[in-house]
Amino acid sequence: MSAERPDRISGIALVLPDDAAADLLHPPRHFSLDAGAVSRGALAGLPEVARALAEGAGPWIVVAGRDLGAGSSRETTLYALRDRGIVAAVADSAGRIFTRNAWNLGLPVVEVPGARLGVRTGDPVVLDLPRGALLLPSGEEVPGTPPDPYWLAVYRHGGLLDFAEAMGRLPGAR
């Protein structure tokens, strides 16, 4: 465990509604190879949340309802969120590809059902990663699903490419 990849991640809660699909987190019209243009599309389909993001400093922990990030596999969605200071996400439930993409880039996504009910945007929260629990400012702890050991390993290596390289899976990698 390094200081940059702590098992306990502290951040400011950024509350998202139910069904915040990938196409809302980063609408397809913001697809680009230009990092600045991609970043500007963060949460563009959820204008109120985008406003809170623009007004705060982060680092942010997304606290979402059901089916976070469902749909598209476009990884630009995660590039945008990461670039804007989002470091982790918890949700009642999350889309499969979104979850993989996020972990692959070093951004944990953990299922913590009901977390959103106890949190407002701006609240300081702590994600206890190995236990899959969210700690609220009140001291209350909302239990969730502990991440699979695979995802913890990917996270601790800093993301999938570094993990795959460490596992000797990327022949010719320099």
Binding site: G159, L170, P171
Partner: protein, 444 residues
């Protein structure tokens, strides 16, 4: 740069597929490397990896920074279908970089030949029981021919396309039996809408969605591809239809696969009791004879209603296409409804055959002529309007009835536009009427 691509032959496996993981569990376990599992994830070597221009373009800096070599064309299909042809100078630049990257890696991508998922479904390597990983969520579509397909993002794609494998979990399976006779107006989308209406958009999250077709005569493969295509809209990792006599017919007659090869692939499929880990859950049978035309109201897939409930709603555009539709069976439905008729003057009717092969077959069969005479705009096979990429974008306040698979606010242009999702017959009936219309009277 780099060492040769890794050995494409799958290694010996000692990974077992636990009860409940279904056909996907059996197919993935057979390609998993022994002793290489981390947690509940196994290092699985797919038979074929696919990337398209948009997601592969994002992989370029990752691959170049580490000096990675792509798998050879035998195991990696690259497709230019999103910016096809490009609609802006920026997207032309993305498409150019994609082509140059591919060329430098010994690949000649398939450009402007159609939507990647349809090209996969037409590919001789994609037989029943094949395992395909693609850098696009709708890679699940190949399940229509009994293949396992799953979508990933760019980072997973980079690993799969260079290491020749990636870490996957064996999903629990949820199985559905399809029964009853097939209505003449129906298409695969109607099955999806019926499932969404009954179970919602999350019921198969992280699971393998598996279908057994016990209808008399069997549902046509084009409709099965549409059924598998929207497994991802139910949260699933894959959607697989058990290969059967219709699959065999399709492979031999429609795709020209050698009969012995096709028979062997169907026979090898792990649906016989000795090989089938079985499902973790069985859903109630889906009775096709009880289908009614349905649509998804704008803004997600939680509100599915009978078309009759939304009938009369004016729309500005009808779009028949995407990887979810636009196959020959869909074009036949539309043409049979529109033959000798004219679509409403108050809307745009856009039709995208899903591949060049489909376009050619529809041309030869006279379907495109019928649609042209009816007033359709025939677009080239590509992703086009579905993701608001090019053509048919919507203005604020406009409404579109689309046979595509996503209707999230803003997906096809303005966030203030509304997208209804429905089947091909409803699209044709709506194009005729200029407002949402129940198609059944056209088949009465």
């Amino acid at each position: 740069m780099a060492a040769a691509a890794p050995d494409p032959a799958p290694g010996p496996s000692s990974v077992s597929s636990p009860p409940g993981t279904g056909w996907a569990g059996a197919l993935l376990a057979a390609r998993a490397e022994a002793g290489a599992s981390v947690g509940s994830y196994h290092f699985v070597r797919p038979d074929l990896v696919m990337g398209h221009d948009a997601t592969t373009a994002l992989a370029i800096p990752m691959a170049e920074r580490r000096g990675l070599r792509l798998l050879p064309p035998e195991r990696l299909m690259l497709v230019g279908d999103h910016f096809s042809p490009p609609s802006t100078a920026e997207r032309a630049e993305i498409a150019r970089r994609f082509r140059e990257f591919a060329a430098a890696q010994g690949h000649l991508p398939r450009l402007d030949e159609g939507i990647c998922h349809q090209l996969l479904a037409e590919d001789p390597r994609v037989l029943p029981g094949a395992v395909v990983v693609g850098a696009d969520s709708h890679t699940v579509t190949v399940g229509g021919v009994g293949a396992f397909g799953t979508g990933v993002g760019t980072t997973d794609f980079v690993v799969a396309a260079t290491a020749g494998g990636l870490w996957l979990r064996l999903p629990d399976a949820v199985r559905v039996r399809l029964v009853g006779s097939w209505p003449a107006w129906a298409c695969g989308k109607e099955l999806v809408l019926a499932l969404l209406a009954a179970h919602g958009p999350e019921h198969a999250r992280y699971r393998g969605l598996e279908f057994v077709d016990d209808t008399p005569g069997g549902i046509a493969t084009d409709h099965r591809l549409a059924l598998a295509n929207m497994a991802v809209e139910q949260g699933a990792k894959c959607g697989i239809v058990r290969p059967d006599a219709e699959t065999l017919r399709h492979l031999v007659e429609d795709r020209g696969v050698d009969r012995a090869v096709a028979e062997a692939a169907v026979a090898r499929f792990p649906s016989h009791p000795a090989a089938d880990p079985g499902p973790a859950e069985r859903l109630p049978d889906l009775d096709c004879s009880a289908l009614v035309p349905r649509l998804a109201l704008p803004g997600g897939l939680r509100r599915i209603v009978p078309v009759a409930d939304a009938a009369g709603e004016e729309v500005d555009q009808v779009y028949l296409g995407s990887c979810s539709s636009g196959r020959l069976a869909d074009l036949r439905l539309a043409a049979s409804a529109l033959r000798g008729r004219k679509v409403s003057k108050r809307l745009r009717f856009l039709v995208t055959p899903s591949s060049r092969a489909v376009y050619g077959a529809a041309l030869a069969e006279g379907l495109l002529g019928v649609l042209h005479e009816a007033g359709a705009v025939i677009l080239n096979p590509s992703c086009g309007p579905c993701g608001g990429i090019d053509k048919g974008l919507l203005a604020p306040g406009e409404a579109c009835l689309s046979t595509s698979n996503r209707n999230v606010q803003g997906r096809m242009g303005s966030p203030e536009a509304r997208i209804f999702l429905a089947g091909a017959a409803t699209a044709a009936a709506t194009a005729l009427a200029g407002r949402i219309a129940d198609p059944r009277e056209l088949w009465a």
